[in-house]
Amino acid sequence: MTQPTTVTADESALVAAFEARIAAGESIEPKDWMPERYRRQLIRMMSQHAHSEIVGMLPEGNWITRAPSLRRKMSLIAKVQDEAGHGLYIYCGTETLGVDRHELVEQLLDGRAKYSSIFNYPTLSWADMGVIGWFVDGAAIVNQTILAKASYGPYARAMVRICKEENFHKRQGYEICATLANGTPAQREMLQDAVNRFWWPSLMMFGPSDTDSPNSAELLKWRVKRKTNDELRQRFINLTVPQAAAIGVTLPDPDLKFNAETNNWDFGEIDWDEFFQVIGGNGPCNRERIAARQQAQDEGEWVRAAATAHASKQHRTVQAA
């Protein structure tokens, strides 16, 4: 699966054939020839995505012990477990490109790998559990529905599996929000506060505007991406505005207004400085998140050691028989 990095005449014929397959809507499978850059871009994108699923367990895990009812607690545990599953589906897909999950986890822990900026914000109230399901999983659905048609087969198939589960995530979140919206003034205030804190960071999840996103053109050409960051962000906003109105919360953007010409909701300026600060490691919770992952890795070591010891004992028993 390793390809030479210098472009030869042979290689440019291979690239042409590869691009023709993509243009014809074919999916690329692990053993197919692919340009080294395609492989690298996919490893980068898929591993960031997998890391986001895993780190994404932390802000919500924070509220499992404090869920207001058994029903909410069961849902939240199931949701957080799904996110672990999503991480594993995508790590498994990434491994088909010839990297080890082991290696990817190390890159996350030593800070070389990135993950979604949204998970570096703290979860301060129970309403945050509702708003995360509604906004963050809602944004993930918009993103992942499109990625389910990406050119790389194992990635696309992982997305199909994930999308089926995300609907549960979003609905349980929106249900929490709708319940709080019908609650006491204090509960409504708590909900509005969570909406105010998570709205802009949720819009940033789609990444910088495509004009500032150097990889976009190539990723679109290779169908690693299918829609631009701006298109996806707009779609998310258009879907969310009526949902907010339905439960009587205000989205914290005075510039938000319907544009009858484009059929889109126009919105205000996103604070990209904040985004780059958070991506660069200086968000409110970056250090805490990685420390928690490291702790989980260290404290899980004995479990892995025990499983390995058990397997080798079984192996010896079988051989001795």
Binding site: E29, K31, D32, W33, A78, Q81, D82, G85, L88, Y89, C92, G93, E95, D100, R101, H102, R157, A158, R161, E165, A307, T308, H310, A311, S312, Q314, H315, R316, V318, Q319, A321
Partner: protein, 112 residues
């Protein structure tokens, strides 16, 4: 007696790990319902067959997606090479007479 293939994929040493120091890779196939064929779902890392089966259940069957699971050591799967797909499948592609459309039926007769 040597261990069966199922318990010991070729590339794992007796400690259940492959050469990179992580648990070996198992491909997972799930059967969505009785009577349906098993389909590839993804893969898991595990120390042995039983462990692979449990991991596969937790990762690929959290909501009744499967009534049966197969796990297979990834390195014992033999696959056709994508580059040879043309010539390899050729014998099946040039025999139009293997398809019902090849045969003429008198006008107005329903054959099926």
């Amino acid at each position: 007696m040597a261990a069966s293939v199922k318990d010991s994929p070729n590339d794992i040493s007796s400690n259940g790990k492959d050469t990179d120091g992580q648990w070996s890779l198992w491909e997972v196939f799930t059967q969505p319902g009785k009577g349906a064929p098993h389909e590839h779902a993804g893969s898991v890392h595990a120390t042995d067959a039983e462990h692979a089966l449990q991991n596969a259940r937790d990762v690929y069957a959290r909501r009744g997606e499967a009534v049966s699971i197969w796990v297979v050591p990834a390195d014992v799967i033999v696959a056709s090479a994508p580059g040879d797909a043309g010539p390899f499948f050729d014998p099946g592609n040039d025999k139009a007479y293997r398809h019902p459309q090849f045969y003429k039926v008198p006008r107005g007769v329903r054959v099926f």
